[in-house]
């Protein structure tokens, strides 16, 4: 694979944006790719906008996804979609919090993992690496509920409820 895959994850502080990007970066890392992940910490716990860039491929140079070059934009909070949309390339895919119907998740906090399930249908990383990466970033008691969230997100994406950016 020559081309670097660019994924941007965005939301508000406390939603699990950084955890999700840690999981994605680790999954790509376990799959043997070169990986870089970058975000700005500091104010993220104070409820402000947070976004994190993950890039992987044969060789990644800059750790930041250039604007207009994201293959996938994953957004955990509806109000954060428009401010992050300029990150998407033409033909890139937006995955938003409305992917799953209200109440579909047993635990609302696993939305980040559910959306990663949807992302997983677009990336060349095997299920085994995804699960290992997710487990490595969560307490054991949360594994089961996140297993289910990941599967739900994946299923929703496979049924075609994600859209390409024009």
């Amino acid at each position: 694979m020559d081309k670097v895959k660019n994924i941007v994850i965005a939301g508000l502080g406390g939603q699990g944006v950084l955890t999700a990007s840690d999981m994605l970066a680790e999954a790509a890392f376990r799959a043997g790719f070169d990986v870089k992940k970058s975000e700005l910490h500091g104010m993220s716990q104070r409820g402000g906008s947070v976004s994190s860039d993950v890039r992987y491929g044969a060789q990644v140079l800059s750790p930041m996804v250039p604007a207009g070059e994201a293959d996938v934009l994953l957004v955990l909070e509806a109000t954060q979609i428009e401010i992050n949309r300029p990150m998407l390339r033409a033909g890139g895919v937006l995955i938003g919090p409305d992917l799953l119907p209200e109440g579909a998740l047993k635990n609302k906090k696993s939305l980040n993992v559910a959306l990663l399930g949807a992302v997983s249908t677009l990336l060349d990383i095997s299920q085994e690496h995804w699960m290992a990466a997710i487990y490595a970033n969560l307490a054991e008691k949360l594994h089961k509920v996140n297993d289910q969230a990941f599967a739900l997100g994946r299923e929703a994406a496979l049924q075609g409820s994600i859209a390409q950016h024009p």
């Binding site: 840690d22 993220s44 300029p86």
Partner: protein, 543 residues
């Protein structure tokens, strides 16, 4: 390559791992984004790390460790090096025995800082060899290299990181622990360590000799990366800018300099001779550009507009194209705010209601400047609230002077507030003054670190605890009051108004644990109580 050999680490974590492998005996520092995680990770990996009251003390402790012949790492954010500058400049004259590496984590773009100063100026001003990594692997490698250089030339070394190097995770292959380090042991070396003029004069000459030798080493075998490409464009770069530049101009020739002070100027001159156009790509101030030009190398710098903020691939493309058209303004996100349930909210509401003139300080509570409170009038640097508040009091007309309040956090108070209290007691304004310590029991903004006022060490175990009220009383502050902001019987507004009405010096401490830290503090207290009980049982048994 198996995952057992590779690790995905942030730059901060890579420095911590390298410090462990380098045999660092003690890591010191003061929390500051983006440097904070280095010592936390070093501690988690089994290293011995301590938070100091401030960066100056941290560097002085480290200097003692180095004089004792052990390796030591000092970490801070860029503005922390201003506080540590006094020991830094003269430490450069001394001969350190154990390696002394100072980490300066700069914050171009000010993700979480009050300015975007470029600390590469300190390298030149203090004559400190400086390494600038562009990813976590280099952060790891350069930390180890910094210790070697420090010990070979008996000189402190600056490891200059930036936000994107500190916080980006990239792949690291570690080398493992260094063997054969000497045990700490004191030897008298008076002329090398006592900087009275008689010893400092020759020491300055020694420093310049060391730098000349290091420059020669950098020319011959320094960490320089050459990516040969088209000869029409040559790029000289360092740090995070190097990876942006290689992505922005993959066809160009790139010379990535790892040690940027003292520079391998002849290597750069030779590179320049082989390309038609030479551009320096660097974040922040035109430090390398000026150095190259001073050495007579015809180098293009960047247009002034790129001095501001971080660089990225798009901005480097614009620099190379000489594009100075206005940049697209990224959409504004939701700003951070004081947490729901945060005790600071009540304080700023009261200050706003009383129409106070608020000299503020550095921490979460700086968010009091934002709506709905808009209750802060100045914020400059750690501890400045007290001095600035006093200055305002001294010259403002009485009706305004009486409304001036200095607001400072607990960690910031220990860092740089004590001398401000001394000033208030020594030079009291005619209207008196009110200092408020918003004590939330943690260094909240940087991620809940301990400090000398919490009674817990970096690893959250128990230690001695400073009493702010005790200090203020001993220093001679006339009114010292402590209130719990959760106390519903109390009107904070009335209390502040009462203290402002007195022409006396006052310290009001509002105390309530940070809502993010409270559950952790309860956990640490419980653990401490448990271990105290265990110890008393053990004492009873052995007694």
């Amino acid at each position: 390559m198996t995952t057992a050999e590779r690790q995905l680490l942030s730059g901060d974590d890579a420095v911590a791992l390298a410090a462990l492998h380098a045999g660092v005996r003690l890591g010191t520092g003061y929390p500051g984004t983006p440097s904070t995680e280095i010592l936390e990770t070093f501690d988690r990996l089994g290293g011995h790390a301590q938070w100091s009251p401030n960066e100056k003390v941290a560097l002085e402790v480290a200097l003692g460790v180095a004089f004792a012949g052990a390796r030591t790492l000092v970490t801070m954010k860029h503005v922390g090096l201003n506080v540590a500058a006094d020991p830094l400049f003269t430490a450069a004259y001394t001969d350190v025995e154990g390696g002394l590496v100072v980490v300066s984590a700069d914050d171009p773009g000010m993700a979480s800082s009050q300015n975007e100063q470029d600390n590469r100026h300190y390298s030149r001003a203090a004559a400190i060899p400086t390494l600038e990594p562009f990813d976590s692997q280099q952060a790891y490698d350069f930390t180890l290299l910094a210790f070697e250089i420090s010990e070979r030339w008996k000189i402190p070394v600056l490891l200059r990181l930036t936000t994107r190097v500190c916080h980006a995770k990239t792949i690291v292959i570690a080398r493992g622990p260094v063997a054969g380090l000497a045990e700490p042991r004191f030897e008298h070396k008076i002329p090398a360590r006592v900087m009275i003029p008689a010893y400092a004069k020759p020491a300055h000459h020694r420093l310049r000799t060391k730098l000349a030798e290091i420059a020669a080493w950098n020319e011959a075998e320094g960490p320089i990366r050459m990516d040969a490409g088209d000869s029409t464009l040559g790029i000289v770069t360092t740090g995070i800018s190097a990876v942006h530049a290689r992505e922005a101009a993959p066809e160009a020739s790139h010379l990535t300099v790892g040690m940027t002070y003292p520079l391998p100027i002849e290597r750069i001159r030779a590179f320049a001779a082989g390309v038609e156009r030479l551009v320096v790509v660097e974040e922040g101030d035109p430090v390398l550009t000026d150095d190259l030009r001073a050495a007579g190398i015809q180098a293009e710098g960047k247009p002034e507009m790129y001095r501001f903020g971080e660089l990225d691939v798009a901005r480097v493309r614009r620099i190379l194209a000489g594009d100075t058209s206005p940049e697209a303004v990224p959409p504004k996100g939701k700003p951070p705010e004081l947490c729901q349930g945060c005790a600071h909210r009540e304080v700023f509401q009261a200050l706003r209601d009383l129409d106070c003139i608020v000299a503020g300080d550095i921490g979460c509570y700086t968010l009091g400047v934002l709506p709905p409170f808009s209750a802060m009038d100045t914020c400059v640097c750690m501890g400045a609230s007290i001095g600035v508040g006093l200055g305002l009091r001294h010259v403002l007309p009485e009706d305004q002077a009486r409304r001036v309040v200095s607001v400072i956090g607990d960690s910031t108070f220990v860092h740089s507030g004590l001398t401000g209290i001394a000033e208030m007691v020594y030079n009291p304004p005619a209207t008196g003054h009110l200092v408020m310590i918003l004590d939330n029991g943690t260094t909240a903004m940087t991620g809940l670190q301990e400090h000398p006022g919490t009674g817990r060490l970096l690893d959250h175990s128990t230690t001695n605890k400073l009493s702010f009220e005790g200090i203020a009383r001993a220093m001679g502050v006339q009114n010292v009051q402590v209130v719990e902001t959760t106390d519903k019987s109390l009107s904070l507004k009335d209390l502040i108004a009462e203290l402002l009405a007195k022409p006396e010096t006052s310290l009001l401490i509002t105390r309530q644990p940070c809502v993010l830290a409270a559950p952790k503090i309860r956990f640490y207290d419980k653990a401490a109580a448990g271990s105290a009980q265990l110890q008393s049982c053990a004492a009873a048994v052995s007694g």
